[in-house]
């Protein structure tokens, strides 16, 4: 009897605190950008990050290839397709804390994981994954969150 009371008490407190995490979701925005030195155009939809990109890289041109806002729920993977078949990015919300979201991200090409990473992302902060070559430039994945 006493053990049952103890277990029920523990269960009550743990379920109380886990409730908000279970029903949580986070808004994430994933932008796929082609950065190159061909021309000097900056896509107008990238004005909000132009300054940051300019301070980090020496590319003269930034073109937005995809813009995917999405709501992530815990442990459900979403996929952002690349420009070529067999290339895409997977994002999974692993955990949601008071001031950051834990995301697992994979960049995949032809069934092979080019990158497998797990980050804690705070609101207003962007994670930029770059490097894979595409045509005359490189592809950047800009991932930011809001919750």
């Amino acid at each position: 009897m006493k053990r049952t009371v103890f277990l029920l008490t523990a269960l009550f407190f743990f379920s109380f605190f886990s409730f908000s995490a279970a029903s949580a979701q986070v808004q994430v925005r994933i932008r796929v950008i082609l950065a190159s030195n061909v021309g000097q155009a900056i896509d107008p939809s990238l004005n909000d990050v132009h300054k940051e990109l300019g301070s980090l890289f020496n590319f003269t041109s930034y073109r937005l290839l995809r813009d995917e806002p999405m709501n992530l729920v815990p442990n459900r993977t979403v996929t952002v397709q690349g420009r070529r078949p067999g290339r895409f990015m997977e994002v999974t919300l692993i955990g949601l804390h008071r001031d950051n979201a834990q995301l697992r991200m994979k960049v995949i090409r032809e069934g092979v994981d080019l990158l497998n990473t797990q980050v804690r992302l705070s609101p207003g902060r962007t994670v930029l994954i770059g490097g894979p070559r595409y045509g005359e430039g490189v592809v950047l994945f800009a991932v930011s969150s809001r919750f």
Partner: protein, 170 residues
């Protein structure tokens, strides 16, 4: 025919793996009746599966797993140590003070107090603001660099392709 082939070719592997819906199966089977190219492609997949699977099945069928379980058992016995929990349990069982009707309510009270205290501690300790932390990173194919400046508010993960990859992708 060409248009049908291009739309069916994306379903052919799913059909081969029996992962298609009824509607997709109908579409593929209808197309296969008239398209030797797609039938050949399907045959190739079957042939490949046989090449991969047949040797395995042949070997598994003949295998009698001599002494495998005995080796596993011996290995576990050799490395088996009493865990701290089983040591604690036997100690607790031996001590009258730690009988269930005494320690269960005590532990329950302790848990409740800890949970309340944790709330206070967490409130007092501000977590880091506006910081992305790369907790885990793996790239079998590339060298990777992580760059996290104070300003701007961006964490960069950069993949460095080798010269072979550069030639392949440009």
């Amino acid at each position: 025919m060409k248009n049908s082939c291009s739309s069916v070719s994306t379903l052919l592997e799913k059909y081969f793996d029996q992962e298609v819906t009824e509607e997709e199966r109908f579409l593929v089977e209808g197309h296969l009746q008239d398209c030797p190219g797609c039938r050949d492609a399907l045959s190739s997949m079957e042939e490949l599966r046989t090449l991969i699977k047949a040797p395995v099945e042949e070997v598994v069928g003949k295998e009698d797993f001599p002494w495998v379980w005995q080796k596993i058992e011996r290995e576990i016995r050799l490395e088996k140590k009493r865990t701290w929990w089983s040591s604690l349990r036997s100690w607790l069982a031996a001590t009258p003070l730690f009988r269930r009707k005494v320690w269960i309510p005590a532990v329950a009270t302790l848990v409740v107090l800890l949970l309340i205290t944790a709330q206070v501690i967490l409130k007092k300790t501000p977590s880091s603001q506006g910081v992305s932390v790369v907790e885990y990173l793996e790239s079998p194919a590339y060298n990777v660099m992580v760059y996290q400046p104070e300003e701007p508010n961006v964490t960069v993960i950069w993949l460095f392709e080798g010269p072979e990859e550069e030639q392949r992708t440009t």
